[in-house]
Amino acid sequence: MSEYLDDDMIVCRCEEVTVGEIRAAVRDGAKDVVGVKRRTRAGMGLCQGRTCEKMVMAIIASELGKKTDQVGTSSARPPVRPLTFGELADAEVI
């Protein structure tokens, strides 16, 4: 269904990245979520792609004629949710 989306629709709200920018990143050579992320910042914001990643995957898959499970995910990196530097330093178990 993502082929019906307008280019100016915002997909990544944290970084204000549009459908058109994601499509342009794929045309530039991005073949997966991480490649799109580096070219557009989609998924680099406060939510780290929690909200938009599935939509980003759908757009990449649609552009490349692949299935959504063939376009990767962002790398799994801590922390699982935002923590202050103080909480991180002080916590005994994370």
Binding site: G29, R38, R41, Q48, P82, F85
Partner: protein, 400 residues
């Protein structure tokens, strides 16, 4: 499936992208082969600066300054914006002994004509209003010797500009074999999933993966992966106004500088050297450390905790700022802390531009230019014989 190029460059990180750009610009037909995507290795798992003040006096600093000057030229020349941002750098000295050691370093660099200077607590806190007030001073480098760039955008910029000039870039390219001449051992072709690339010249710019390529032509490239970790903050108002590092960073980078800090066992064990950068996207990058962990780039919780502890010592306000991500990457480490930018006597047509450890981004412009000069048979801008691959052969011979 048969392809013909004057030169094949392997690796599309900062070094390979720059080398490919410079060779394409010189008029060669060039193919850039990359195992994954452009900027998918160390060049997107690093921080964002080019400095002279983290270099040893001599050729190390000279290359840094030449590259920093060159970044300014490229920023004007390129259409693709790599977020070139000249800004000064402060090397924080927590104590008087650190300040004294930094003063000695400063004097050496001044003697070579670099305008570094020492600042004391009062001036430091004026320059950096959110920094801890009990620090002894700092080594200041003006923006002429300190720039920020976006490292992965730098790679995209080189590739984009080179493509405009005719570069062919092959991503997700697996190299299975390099064929050399049976008599002369000269480079002849590369076999890949894109078919066979016929070429007389190969430049190995694969960073920590450069030894894998070296093996394909039977040579040993002494590069080891050295891990580093950075934390990314949420977007914040501007917390720092310079590139910030602690003087202990030098200690961590060059084990020859033997200087003991009063830090916790965790910070010591994790080999933490605080550095802080405010990016154009308004996030803070907070680092960092140097550890040998093979190719393991997972973010370790103990490292993260140690970075937080050390960072809050210098910027107490960080306590209430949120960390949204940690990332780790591996630097291509060479024992003598100098990159390898060189031809290889035993394999005619095979060149190496790799092993820049934590300086790959900073050194990428000048390295591209040097490789172009070496391949064209031109004199290099200055003597880089210290970067010759033959130095390892010599030290092997001496050892045996």
């Amino acid at each position: 499936m048969e392809k013909f190029y004057d030169i094949v460059v392997i690796g599309a990180g900062a070094i390979g992208s720059s080398v490919a750009y410079h060779l394409q610009e010189a008029g060669f037909s060039v193919a850039l082969l990359e195992k994954k995507d452009v900027a998918s290795g160390s060049s997107s798992h690093c921080d964002a600066v080019g400095l002279i003040c983290d270099k040893l006096p001599g050729i190390d600093t000279k290359m840094g300054q030449a590259s920093i000057d060159y970044f300014g030229v490229l920023a004007k020349k390129f259409k693709y914006d790599f977020e070139y941002n000249p800004k000064g750098c402060l090397y924080i000295c927590e104590t008087k002994p650190e300040f004294d050691a930094a003063s000695e370093y400063c004097a050496k660099q001044n003697a070579d004509g670099y305008p570094l200077r020492m600042v004391r607590t009062k001036e430091l806190t004026e320059m950096e209003p959110y920094i801890a007030k009990d620090l002894y001073g700092a080594l200041y480098t003006p923006s002429s010797g300190s720039v920020a760039v976006n490292p992965y955008k730098l790679c995209f910029a080189f590739v984009h500009e080179a493509k405009e000039l005719g570069l062919d870039c092959y991503t997700y390219c697996n190299i299975s074999k390099i064929n050399t001449n049976a008599e002369t051992n000269a480079v002849e072709s590369i076999e890949t999933n894109y078919g066979t690339f016929h070429t007389k010249k190969i430049v190995d710019c694969a960073g920590v993966w450069a030894p894998e390529i070296g093996k394909l032509v039977g040579i040993d490239i002494p590069i080891e992966p050295r891990k580093g970790t950075n934390l990314v903050s949420e977007q914040t108002p501007q917390l720092c106004f310079h590139k910030i590092l602690e003087y202990g960073y030098m200690m961590s980078k060059f084990d020859s500088i033997n200087f003991k800090r009063a830090v916790s066992p965790l910070v010591e064990e994790q080999n933490i050297a605080f550095n802080l950068e405010y990016t154009m996207a308004h996030n803070l990058l907070v680092g960092g450390n140097r550890l040998f962990r093979g190719m393991d780039t997972r973010s370790e919780i103990e490292t993260m905790k140690a970075i937080c502890e050390r960072a809050m010592r210098f910027y107490p306000k960080l306590r209430d700022i949120k960390c949204i991500r940690a990332y780790s990457g591996v630097r291509p480490f060479v024992k003598d802390h100098l990159p390898i930018v060189s031809d290889v006597d035993s394999v005619p047509g095979f060149y190496i531009a790799a092993g820049h450890e934590g300086d790959g981004i900073c050194f990428s412009p000048i390295t591209g230019k040097f490789v172009k000069q070496i391949i064209c048979g031109e004199p290099t801008d200055f003597d880089i014989s210290k970067l010759d691959y033959a130095r390892f052969e010599k030290s092997k011979a001496m050892a045996s």
